[in-house]
């Protein structure tokens, strides 16, 4: 119960008063970082935690070792002809590998080393801008200070700062974010078999858009939960809504089929004109089947 209501509350709070997040920095530990763009839109980035970054680091470490090994093999062959030059080149490669691997990869490939790319991480400036050469160099030179005691210093500062920044990030003003893959928003759930509520059964209360969106998203994700759990969660909202609406229809419908009830509430209030409904019913034909089956 609390979970649904809380999420609804926080959603409305952040929606109605986004500026609050800037005036008074939130104390809660959060994986979200918010910045404001020149278009006056607040953007949210998801920060990457220490564990993810550790995995990315291990991948990069493996790659760096592989580069050294590969270079050693090639150098050995060149060394037959020019032994001194070969060793010189190898040492330079070793230097670049130690001090330059991250700088080059992050500075010139949009903030992603190979390990970060694999893990879906990216380094950006904390203003939301892409990282450039100098900050990339700075954050990766300071890496050698972070790396003291097996990255003990880096991990400690990471845990002490709100944005999981190690010393190098703090100096260079960068954050590591997790990139989400773009996915088109799901088509709204279309419920052909569901009838809207009878206008005579309900009072004048109109649920807010947030509540309708909540129902929509809840039904879109109902496969995630077991049937019983989904049923129980839906029951809480259905009961509340039925009370607010002064629902005087079949009380069994609220008790026995809370999901179906929510769906009909959704249908009652989100489609004010019948023709809109038809347009959508046509556009998302394949969805119908699944909806019918699981809603029972």
């Amino acid at each position: 119960m609390t979970s649904t209501l809380n999420s609804d509350e926080t959603a409305t709070n952040s929606v109605n008063f986004p500026q609050q997040n800037f005036s008074a920095q939130r104390e809660v530990l959060s994986l979200e970082m918010q910045i404001e763009t020149p278009e006056n839109v607040v953007l949210t980035y998801q920060l990457a935690g220490p564990a993810q970054r550790y995995i990315a680091y291990m991948i990069d470490l493996a790659i760096r070792l592989a580069i050294l090994f590969g270079a050693w093999m090639v150098i050995n062959m060149v060394g037959i002809v020019l032994p001194g030059t070969a060793i010189g080149i190898f040492l330079v490669i070793m230097f670049l590998n130690t001090w330059g691997y991250y700088t080059i990869s992050e500075g010139f490939f949009k903030g992603q080393s190979i390990g970060k790319h694999v893990c879906g991480l990216r380094v950006i400036r904390d203003g939301g801008y892409p990282i450039t050469f100098w900050p990339a160099l700075l954050r990766n030179l300071v890496r050698s200070a972070d790396a003291i005691i097996f990255y003990g210093i880096g991990i400690t500062t990471m845990l002490l700062t709100r944005r999981f920044q190690r010393l190098g990030d703090l100096v260079a003003g960068t954050v590591v974010i997790q990139e989400r893959s773009l996915h088109l928003p799901r088509k709204p759930v279309i419920l052909n078999k569901i009838q809207p509520l009878n206008k005579n059964d309900i009072g004048s209360f109109v649920p807010r858009d947030e509540v309708l969106s909540l129902i929509d998203e809840f039904m879109g994700r109902r496969h995630v939960l077991t049937y019983e759990r989904g049923h129980a969660l839906a029951g809480i909202l259905a009961n509340n809504l039925a009370q607010r609406l002064n629902y005087s229809g079949d009380p069994q419908k609220v008790k026995q089929y809370p999901m179906a009830f929510l769906a009909s509430v959704y249908k009652t209030f989100s489609f004010t004109h019948p023709q809109e409904e038809d347009e959508f019913a046509v556009s998302s034909h394949p969805r119908k089947q699944t909806v019918e089956v699981s809603l029972e």
Partner: protein
């Protein structure tokens, strides 16, 4: 407006913007025609507007996060810095680095004090009392130095190898240049690494930098004192003078940059500590980058010029010339350039600015 109607209306635009983002990822942003760019920058504003609309009306988290990511990527693209190019590198070396260096010369002078003073003291002490050298230098290294700069020194006979260790990996027929190349690699790897570390450790309130400077100063002083006390001073000085100009100065420069980092934390001034760290850090890293370039130059000189069998007199002349060159470069390069580097005037810089002004009058 109804949520569904809104989505239906706007979705083609989102899709279009998404395709554009995918397209740019594959091709370069710079290759797009101008009208395309302005068209898509307008589309970015539209999508931003949609995001604000949807967020204020509470039309679902899925939709918000989708649009959020769309705008974030667009933002990343349109507000990115212009790509770096070779002209930028030249400008940095000719103007940006020396200017930044002079603007923060107080740190450099402090680093010089921390580096050259112990160097001089330990040189003096060890030269007069060579037995003390064992306290600083490991035994086998001392044996090496005797070999390097002694009568049998390869500085006299260039065709031979420098140390016994090198026999392991250098075959007999390797030529002078070839052998030198390996040493160049070694100097780059070793010296630049030390300088960069010296800079980076400055973030630990400057302690790491101070330690590195003191340690290297004492060590180098002891080595020099020991070698000179063994009667090999002539060979040693002629070897060291040329590349020392770039090398020793660059170590102090890198150390100064490290002190800048530490001082940004200790004396943040009007800013918060993190802000001050960011602002000064960006200057400091550009100074450290310059020091790294200087050290690469030093490594090349040290490998190819210093050990060659050129008369000592020529080496001394050229070496002094290089010292003057370094002085002129750091003191006067980029003085006339219009672009001023973010000068945050500080009290402790009163002395350095004098130097700068003098230079201005001369040039």
């Amino acid at each position: 407006m109804n949520k569904h109607k809104f989505i239906q209306q706007r979705q083609p635009h989102w899709k279009q913007f998404e395709d554009f983002l995918m397209d740019v990822r594959r091709n370069s942003f710079a290759r797009l025609p101008a009208e395309e760019i302005s068209k898509y920058s307008q589309l970015l504003r539209e999508v931003s507007n949609d995001l604000a609309t949807i967020r204020s009306r509470g039309w679902g988290h899925d939709l918000i996060s989708y649009l959020n990511d769309l705008v974030a990527r667009g933002h990343n693209l349109f507000y990115g810095a212009p790509p770096a190019n070779l002209a930028g590198v030249y400008h940095y070396l000719a103007v940006g680095f020396p200017q930044l260096f002079r603007a923060n010369i107080g740190y450099f002078l402090t680093a010089c004090l921390l580096f050259f003073l112990p160097l001089g003291i330990s040189w003096y002490v060890v030269q007069n009392n060579p037995s003390l050298a064992t306290r600083v230098i490991p035994e086998e290294l001392m044996a090496n130095f005797d070999l390097m700069y002694g009568e049998e020194s390869p500085l006299n006979k260039e065709e031979e190898k420098i140390t016994d260790e090198e026999d392991a990996f250098l075959s007999k027929e390797s030529t002078f240049g070839d052998q030198r190349a390996s040493m160049a690699g070694f100097y780059i790897n070793h010296n630049v690494g030390i300088a960069l570390q010296c800079f980076a450790l400055g973030i630990l309130l400057g302690i790491g930098t101070i330690y590195t400077l003191l340690f290297n100063g004492i060590f180098l002083g002891a080595v020099s004192g020991y070698i000179v006390s063994q009667g090999n001073g002539e060979r040693f000085l002629s070897f060291v003078i040329s590349h020392g100009s770039f090398e020793l100065t660059a170590i102090a420069v890198a150390g100064g940059a490290g002190l800048m980092l530490g001082n940004a934390l200790i004396h943040p001034g009007q800013r918060t500590r993190f802000q001050s760290l960011q602002v000064r850090g960006l200057e400091a890293v550009q100074i450290a980058g310059g020091a790294a370039v200087m050290l690469v130059v030093a490594a090349l000189i040290e490998a190819f010029w210093s050990p060659s069998s050129i008369p000592n007199l020529v080496k001394y002349v050229v070496g002094s010339g290089l010292w003057i060159l370094v002085f002129i470069y750091l003191g006067f390069a980029g003085l006339q350039a219009d672009t001023q580097p973010l000068p945050v005037r500080k009290k402790e810089r009163s002395k350095p600015t004098e130097v700068g002004f003098n230079g201005g009058r001369k040039s």
